[in-house]
Symmetry: C2
Subunit: 479 residues, 2 copies
Amino acid sequence: MAKEKKLVEAITPMDEDFAKWYTDVVKNAELIEYSGIKGCMILRPNGYAIWENIQKELDRRFKETGVENVYMPMFIPESLLQREKEHVEGFAPEVAWVTHGGNEELTERLCVRPTSETLFCDLYSNIVQSYRDLPKVYNQWCSVVRWEKTTRPFLRTAEFLWQEGHTAHATAEEAEERTIQMLNVYADFCEEVLAIPLLKGRKTDKEKFAGAKATYTIEAMMHDGKALQSGTSHNFGDGFAQAFGIQYTDKDNSLKYVHQTSWGMSTRIIGAIIMVHGDDSGLVLPPRIAPTQAVVIPIAAHKEGVLDEARKLKYVIEAAGIRVKLDDSDKSPGWKFSEQEIVGIPARIEIGPKDIEAGQCVIVRRDNREKTVVAIADAAAELQRVLDEEQKDMFERAKKHLYDNLFEAKDYETFKDTIANKPGFVKAMWCGELECELKIKEDTTATSRCMPFEQEQISDVCVCCGKPAKKMVYWGKAY
Amino acid sequence: MAKEKKLVEAITPMDEDFAKWYTDVVKNAELIEYSGIKGCMILRPNGYAIWENIQKELDRRFKETGVENVYMPMFIPESLLQREKEHVEGFAPEVAWVTHGGNEELTERLCVRPTSETLFCDLYSNIVQSYRDLPKVYNQWCSVVRWEKTTRPFLRTAEFLWQEGHTAHATAEEAEERTIQMLNVYADFCEEVLAIPLLKGRKTDKEKFAGAKATYTIEAMMHDGKALQSGTSHNFGDGFAQAFGIQYTDKDNSLKYVHQTSWGMSTRIIGAIIMVHGDDSGLVLPPRIAPTQAVVIPIAAHKEGVLDEARKLKYVIEAAGIRVKLDDSDKSPGWKFSEQEIVGIPARIEIGPKDIEAGQCVIVRRDNREKTVVAIADAAAELQRVLDEEQKDMFERAKKHLYDNLFEAKDYETFKDTIANKPGFVKAMWCGELECELKIKEDTTATSRCMPFEQEQISDVCVCCGKPAKKMVYWGKAY
């Protein structure tokens, strides 16, 4: 019973210490284990299975838009990384360097990829010759390394898993179209599958990707009101193409530079799932992404017929295409309920001797603990209905949280006061100058999250300096 | 037309120069591209799609046996790698070392994983306490690095993709059972999906994995008679458990060491697919693994109705669950046929004005170019039948090649003569001594491939030294 007690007590309440709550959930749900290497985490089966589902769903959506997967080397020669000036300045300070192979010192240092723009550019410069070779719409699933000083599971780690898409196009228009298309793929995926509502927009120059002409982003709001950048899509114009000499012969026989994009989503998004949906009992997984969507828990399993009936129920539900498990271990039902809640399985089905006698079972939702008594014969269909409702309610709840905490400020005092006292984002006008972004960060620790596609004219002047405003910006503290 | 000519001439005939044929096929089928880093290759869409199908099929088979996927860090601290003596001796000479993170020198060197036994052991020592925590049957899909001096696409590269399974069990019996079970998963997969027949057996001590108690292997025979080790499964006993202190409390409250296994299959297997099935026109992919199983090629596509009919045909075939493409580009049909043959698409469907008039189309198999005229209405069903037959015939052909080139030798002169003059393997008896293995390698360059599970008593004495024989061994030159 000692361990049972520990399970329940182990999670710090969110309102007491959100950061502590987060690491407690990550550890107790057995999503990760710390490794012996600072900042590198082990993705345990519960954590990796979420990533597998994300991969499966995103990969299908990518391929529907014509994406082809490839695999690039994990090493980048130092000279190649240095080919594009802004890019190397952005990444060099945080890369890991391989200096020796076997017992020999290498003639040129290799960095472990922090991102693979340079490798894809090198490839495209070799395989793109004619307009017939375009577009190239490649993607890879891999791990990347960024030598971070302070790390937190999923949110910031020295090594993380992601996908990175890299495309080359004949025209600037096509590249811009692909950049926005992939941002929308991410946004739809997050909203439909992860039940995470988003704000979409463009990053300011200060916040954009090293070497990009424009970076677009989807920003999610966590339970504590902070932002998590959940996916980005970059338009490089022909900057990289010029640095790497990626040219093609067009139909009119003229030599032109290609236009490029890149876009990525990483295991960071699992941090968003946790911080948008979790509660004081643990993880709450949206049904559409949950590795296990429901668990059948027999009550008084030792009584005749109970286990048999529970087993039958599991098979019927499985046959209906729902990812279901049966917990027939010798733990107590209460213990099993706690486990289901900690790991965030969206529904449990309780079935005991009295239920069987009445020809029924009880479905309990994870998110709001709502119980539904259903006939055993209807269990699979009813469960599917409950899961669909739960998915929808989770999204609506998160959306309400986002819009309830989206404040507005017309003057700097209101702005600072809102950032300081209200968890959430602030909409405010901006003059477009880096100076104001830096001052706002200095005064409030908030950064510009994005310039939303749907602009509103809140006022005519910059909230910070009072000069004429150019853009409405969402500001917030961020992970 | 210049390019068209190049396509046809680019592949060196197998019998002229098998090694050159191999690299020509790999390059012309656009499976890989060389990268700027020596020994690191780029897997292009045609190559990576094969690996994706291998992953999908193997992963499903793994999970049916209870395997759970995880992700471990790509770095191993030097001290951790050194924990098991034999293991470090086997791998240290060929690892890449990270010495700097960002601008700082690391206090301890990290190697890029050549394999992850040490990381899994470290994890298991933390998460295994009781018999209730066993077995642990984990696997990961990742890339590993071994700093090879001479490299060849797929067969030997500095970085390659693989899966590595690592398990921990309460008893020695269970570990041995799992070792053999996974070997059989590999063997069944190779035979059923890749149409590659295998010899199964145990490695000699000289050839076994660094740190293993026993290594089991599946060995395939390439077209040139050389062996390719296609998958291995290792039983570690409790050696690693002792080195890493992985103990559990058993039901009787006594403290025991776990028993471990590991098993892996890599992108090397793609080399086997190429060298078992390929021909002078290029790649020949078994239908069950081919990313594209059939391509519809319109003849005289400019004539009215042809493209429409070709498109309809493609949709009907797709709806039947066959992975099909339509080649409606403006290239000539002959050019399209060549491309289909180079990349190894198992079947093409030709459809032209005369076919349409007659309500028929022509299915052409890739492996033997056999043509079947079928009614358009039956095309999908007939194509499936043709693909099934092709898969079966490819396996039978490869099996005949294997057994036709499996020779026997009772004395050393016959042995040496056979290895020198006949491409294939030689069955011969062995005394069990390392000395004879070394002498055979020195005299013939052949190595022991495996001690097959099904032993035959060819003679009573070792083929090399004449002392009493202990085992029958398959010997051969190997990739």
